[in-house]
């Protein structure tokens, strides 16, 4: 009996090590996959990426691509990692910026769908739906503010370029001189690249992109599942610490929990039942969801450090995603008048949807599918 008790913790410890080893392997695969997408895109387009993505030269079209792709895949980390890979393969950064903004909007569909599960209890649904849609409204407001600014002045592109130059600037201290991650992933990426290259430039390139996308999807999904198990205790500690400590602490804890579970959808969806039960009010949830926006950028930054091809541009778009989300929090949450807009909109929508559940359905379909389709249609005529 004593022996069994001594063996049990060891077994669980061993399982724990194995799960962490699996996480490391999956992160490695994720980085390799982004490299494959970059290589495949370069191979397939032969330097004509701009022409291929001419349809997205209109920023609204790029935005719609980001929204719909993320809403369908249910992971902004996957979509932004794919975008990083495409930029490394030659997709111009200015075309990728609206796509990244769209990915932010698209990812908020997950917690909205999770909130639909509370539909049978009126008050609970009202709270849950408001908690879910506050994220949507924040992200939509962020697009409304920053997309026109980006189109007019290219602020995010400049900021991202400046941050990327810190790492890819000339001199021995830049990550161009020696990149351990790139060196570690190169054998896998090059092996798959040479295997697909035998199919010809175009078919081989497209195959490489598809392998990369599939790998990213699998890696991010499995990492998310594993980290949920491994980090639940840590997430509890972080959230306990944040209770009653104000909005900055909420933002920081949302960021940390998202980094630990590698998914903003998980973090924001986690808030839905907490709000539904009535324990957390919208004002408690709101800063936490903003932190999730920041925390989710880590995946793409990590992936961008190891890509080949146009690596500086890949890191630039990853930093654009990060600065966009940080600036969104600083501007919208920092200005009291703007801060209350997503809360009021979410409360009002929650009240309407709890009275008329068809309004909730119309909202989900309208914001994530119909409105983007209309925008795409209109933008094609501009």
């Amino acid at each position: 009996m004593e022996n069994n008790q001594a063996v049990l913790p060891n077994r669980s410890e061993y399982q724990n090590y194995m799960q962490w080893a699996m996480v490391a392997l999956l992160v490695y695969l994720l980085i390799c996959a982004v490299g494959m997408i970059g290589g495949g895109f370069k191979m397939a387009t032969g330097g004509h990426a701009r022409e291929l993505f001419a349809f997205a030269s209109n920023p609204f079209a790029g935005l719609v691509v980001g929204i719909v792709a993320t809403a369908l895949i249910q992971s902004s980390s996957t979509v932004t990692s794919i975008i990083v890979g495409l930029v490394a393969g030659g997709l111009p950064v200015e075309l990728a910026v609206p796509m990244v903004m769209g990915a932010n909007v698209g990812t908020s569909i997950t917690n909205t769908i999770v909130s639909l599960g509370h539909v049978r209890a009126k008050e609970e649904f009202k709270r849950a739906f408001s908690a879910a849609t506050v994220h949507d409204f924040f992200n939509l407001l962020s697009v409304v503010i920053f997309l026109p600014l980006e189109m007019a002045f290219g602020i995010l592109e400049k900021l991202g370029g400046w941050l990327s130059a810190l790492f890819y600037g000339s001199g021995d201290t830049s990550i161009n001189s020696f990149n351990l991650v790139k060196a570690a992933t190169a054998p896998v990426v090059n092996t798959v690249k040479s295997a697909t290259h035998s199919l010809g430039d175009q078919i081989g390139g497209v195959t490489l992109i598809l392998i990369g996308i599939a790998l990213i999807f699998v890696a991010i999904t499995m990492v998310g599942k594993l980290l949920k198990k491994l980090m639940v205790g840590k997430a509890k500690d972080i959230m306990h610490t944040a209770i009653g400590r104000g909005p900055l602490s909420g933002i920081a804890s949302g960021t940390l929990v998202t980094i630990f579970v590698q998914s903003s959808s998980t973090t924001t969806s986690l808030m839905v039942p907490l709000a539904g039960s009535g324990a957390f009010k919208l004002k408690d949830i709101y800063p936490f969801t903003l932190g999730a926006n920041i925390g989710t950028c880590v995946t793409a930054v990590l992936a961008a450090t190891a890509v080949t091809g146009n690596a500086a541009a890949a890191l630039q778009i990853a930093f654009i995603h990060l600065t966009y989300n940080i600036l969104g929090v600083v501007v919208i949450y920092g200005i009291p008048m703007l801060r209350e807009l997503p809360v009021k909109a979410a409360e009002s929508l929650g009240a309407t949807a709890s009275e008329n559940k068809f309004a909730a359905l119309a909202y989900v379909l309208g914001v994530f599918f119909i409105l983007p389709a209309v925008c795409l249609g209109v933008s094609s005529f501009i």
């Binding site: 599960g117 306990h240 009653g244 039942p273």
Partner: protein, 74 residues
Amino acid sequence: MSNLQVLSTERLNKLIDETQLTLQELKQEVIRREHIQQSHEIKDLDHHMTSAEFNLNSIKNFISYLLEESKKHK
């Protein structure tokens, strides 16, 4: 309080101070209870983690609820 007019200003000020203190204590107690409730909910985070996943059943249940509701109203 029907005898307000007969109370001295000093007494009224004292009552205001006492009421404000009581109000503050009540608010603090409400906040303390809210925090306890939040801590309690966080203890169930493992359960919330599993229920907070994208699930086609949520959509299915939602649609069937809408259908039930629309039938009721016909």
